[in-house]
Symmetry: C2
Subunit: 594 residues, 2 copies
């Protein structure tokens, strides 16, 4: 009769009971996986997670990689994968991923073990100040009470677990930090009297299902406010800008409905969740703006009357600069009342769930706006694609173009900072294939990229492709260990230009030294030995041999196991070709659309 | 006439002037090196450091490793090596090392570049909340004013630089965080009017030498308090326990003078700075306590009357437990009024600089105490060394014994957590050779070990040996990149027992699963390919072949370049041998000294 996943008075000590109650409650809230790093102080948590039948344990030796792996899973699914680590600097290694989760609104739950309160700040070993370790980057922090087998404390713990999930997946989603002090014994060693045998079952085993069920609403406008907006949006020329999506992302059907009703072209960031997939079949999705927007096009075209922003600030700088320059009413839609438009030209903040808002608005709009305006954008998109098709000359963007062309359907495509996400933006044209394109654009770091990608891959049966530069690959090589230690398989496209290629785009290029030594920082690393360290095969092609890359990539995605396809490129030459292509696209767009 | 290191009105823009004034002031304060990670927002700082003729630049691609490298340098020298990184998660990667620096009182100066204030929290790219990013782990935090070429602002900047060094190297030493907002242009691009040509030279070039000279005292007792202490310390049986040293560490001559005057044996932690070196020739230095202290010895011996603690809490758990159990007056000496004794049996806190205190006390003590008491400890030490000499059977401790036997003189010997530092404590017997033994015992993490060791090595002409386990080696493999990118060479002894060997010492061993899968976490990594990734040669020996290890280690320390000597061991068998040896030592000590 007794459920082995549920704590009871037969548990050997208070720590075991406590940790099992926590894990039981997390499982009741739908948690089905956890990322654990080995350590002693976290023993009660580790044992409880490991013994729970419905929870899969990912074991990561490097906590920095572990946190990014958990971030990747949550980014892909919208669900929390908790993290467990021991006391001390282990917890600080989570900090970069915590910040990324906070900035990009990805749910995360940090369960850090701690020394008991009386030995903090006393010189005790592996004891640091873990209170509010992540500062304002978490949505909620609790120093959890010390374990004790009393009904009220156990109710408090279960309620805390439920609230943690609610806060982590709320509006905005983000990291939650629970700090757990434990004193010995940490193992499931019997301690006489530690768990009173007369504790009622309601205290130990919780309730049927979750201890606390959360029913959460999202901000929604009242009918008057909605009608007012619908009037304002009934303009001939509008744009719907969909930036990188918050988890779980805007509903493509709501975007489609709004686009049809309004006649607004959809400027879809590659990470918006709407550039790839069925929406493209029915809706004017524009992905080439990064290649043609600028002063010349803006001067040749009429300005939009109204711009609606949903999601985070777009990846494309030309797009952001264009939006800053046009004379339009601009609406930032953000359910969390955040502000994600750093040019400060927006005129209105709309605090509402974007999917529901767009869906409701689509039923109220006066009718589609200017057909000429919409055609202008779709023709520009076509011009951009024609220039891509006609061109020769290699640039790194070609790699992303080929990945979008060749990746299996469905695929999760993860793109690193700094260049791959920009190249996906410009060269990864919209397609109806079911691609989920992801990146870490909250803080746009080059750290943790491998792990975030593998975490995303671990959460889905999609094929997984990661496109990364060499610095990001190096920064999180430790993350490759997950290939052998979990089920995930990946195709990793490693664009290797031996250092920080993006700096060639910046004025510092003119100052050498220190340009090469301190900015490009060529490392000369030969990454092929990662094949012998980790569970992957390694192939290298020259960037300018397009067929070789396409063959190697196609081969990698169709073979068993994980593969690195390294593409050797010249960052400076790539930037030149990028610039030339942009020139040609702008010319073509001006010819075709004015 | 103009000094190229000094800013002037010919500087092209305010950012250049600002960063040059900062670097000029740091150089005037004695800073001669910096650790920089590539990034765009930090361009003014990077360019200014790179162009300063008296500052050596270490370039690190992984900020986590960079911070540990800087920590290692400061740990070895007591001087600050500033850190420079760009905005975003880069800065969060410093956090683990910041905590270690805070806990072990090592000076550190974090110079993080930031976006200008008006675009924070607005969705701008690579913009996070960097304010007070490291919470209470820093001694001082300032969000530095925005650059501007006005006399008062420039004076404020130079004063801030001086204060930062003073705070970082103060009592207690530790990390200081200065956050620098910069707006474009970040490069030394001329900006008309940005640096007024009529700025007085005093505003741009600072002063001759440092802008602010710091004269700092250390806590010292008045004569009455000192005499009272001297009376209390004039007991027959006393102990001087020297724990891991704060930077720059306790003066061995003061320790010797106190030991001679008091007759107190010196229980010297391996990281105390007094277990190895000239002190051993003249003074009863005990290093074997970890092998024989315990219930049996405590019951057979009289308790000490008085115990004086200097430095951090000792590494040895048997020692800490012994001190918690004896009936003695115990004095914690801490210049920062900290408390570093987590058993809370100490009776007195003495807030004073330990070197000065011991030196002054040595001139006031009534005379050496019990000769029998002192001999008891030196004979126990001799018994411990005899047992080591006589034994056969391999355990991992043998590796540390051999390293201490064979390392070149002088050497810096860096030991990782968890086991190498404990093995050094038990098996690394005192010697007169000039060894500087270092470890990260502030938070006792296994992260950043490689980088801390290489940083320490980079600051000295000593030979450098690092002894590390496989988990710590894996955790900071990125740190190995410094071997090729800086002048440092190292001999790395890699004790590989394929996972977390220390867990065999804990009760969790009896619970498998999850013992193997979640605690030992065997990774099966073959580390030999690190030879092809990084600038090192790799050799592997079996742990039980002692001659092979000694030959390989001796060869490594006498050959050019960096070397990894991997020792394959069985953690469980090692723990059994450790326990047997301890038994024999206790027996021998009881025979010899009671």
């Amino acid at each position: 009769m007794t459920d082995p996943n549920r704590p009871s008075t037969t548990d050997p000590n208070r720590n075991t009971l406590w940790a099992r109650a926590l894990v039981d409650e997390l499982a009741a809230a739908g948690i089905d996986a956890v990322c654990i790093s080995p350590g002693s102080r976290s023993t009660p948590l580790t044992v409880a997670f490991d013994r729970h039948e419905d929870i899969h344990v990912f074991s990561h030796l490097d906590e920095r990689s572990s946190a990014y792996f958990a971030l990747g899973r949550a980014r892909r699914t919208g669900d929390v994968t908790p993290l467990v680590c021991t006391s001390g600097t282990a917890a600080a290694n989570y900090h970069p991923a915590v910040i990324e989760a906070s900035q990009s609104r990805v749910p995360m739950l940090l369960l850090t073990a701690d020394r008991p309160p009386e030995i903090r700040d006393s010189g005790a070993n592996q004891t640091i100040d873990q209170e509010k370790l992540y500062g304002d980057a978490v949505r909620w922090y609790r120093d959890v009470a010390e374990p004790e087998a009393t009904p009220r404390k156990l109710r408090s713990l279960r309620t805390t677990a439920a609230r943690a999930i609610t806060k982590a997946t709320g509006t905005p989603a983000g990291p939650v930090h629970l700090n757990f002090p434990f004193r010995k014994p940490l193992e499931p060693t019997p301690v006489e009297g530690d768990v009173p045998t007369d504790l009622p079952e309601s205290a130990t085993a919780g309730r049927d299902g979750a201890f606390v069920d959360t029913t959460a609403g999202a901000p929604e406008l009242d009918d008057d406010a909605l009608r007012t907006l619908a009037e304002k949006f009934s303009e001939p020329r509008g744009l719907l800008v969909v930036g990188p999506s918050d988890s779980p992302g805007v509903d493509p059907e709501a975007v489609a409905a709004f686009a049809h009703a309004s006649g607004f072209p959809v400027l879809a960031d590659p990470l918006s969740g709407v550039r790839y997939g069925g929406l493209v079949r029915t809706t004017p999705v524009v992905g080439g703006y990064d290649a043609f927007l600028g002063e010349r096009v803006r001067e040749a075209w009429p300005d939009p009357d109204v711009v609606v922003h949903v999601g985070a600030s777009p990846t494309s700088k030309p797009l952001r600069k264009y939006l800053a320059a046009v004379d339009a009413d601009q609406y930032v839609v953000d359910p969390a009342a955040g502000w994600r438009e750093a040019e400060f030209t927006a005129t209105d903040l709309v605090v509402a769930d974007p999917s529901r808002l767009l869906g409701r608005l689509s039923r109220l709009l006066a009718g589609p706006g200017s057909r000429t305006w919409q055609e202008r954008w779709t023709e520009a998109e076509a011009a951009h694609e024609t220039v891509l098709d006609e061109r020769d000359g290699f640039c790194e963007g070609r790699v992303l173009e080929d990945v979008v062309d060749l990746a299996p359907d469905p695929s999760t495509i993860f793109v690193s900072n700094s260049m791959p996400v920009r190249d996906l933006d410009r060269f990864g044209t919209p397609t109806t294939k079911t691609y989920t394109a992801l990146g870490n654009r909250g803080a746009s770091g080059i750290d943790g990229i491998v792990s975030t990608a593998l975490g995303a891959g671990s959460a889905t049966t999609d094929d997984l492709t990661l496109v990364t530069g060499d610095l990001a690959y190096y920064h999180d090589m430790n993350g490759l260990l997950a290939l052998g230690r979990s089920d995930v398989e990946a195709t990793i496209v490693l664009v290797n230009n031996d250092g920080g290629g993006i700096f060639h785009m910046l004025p510092i290029e003119a100052y050498d030294p220190p340009f090469t030594s301190q900015f490009v920082t060529p490392h000369g690393l030969d990454f092929e030995p990662t094949e012998d360290l980790y569970d992957l095969s390694f192939a290298r092609v020259e960037g300018d041999d397009r067929d070789a890359f396409r063959d190697a990539y196609a081969e990698a995605t169709t073979s068993e196991g994980s593969h690195v396809v390294e593409v050797a490129t010249d960052a400076e030459a790539s930037h030149r070709v990028r610039d030339e292509l942009r020139e040609r696209t702008v010319e073509r767009v001006l010819e075709d659309t004015t």
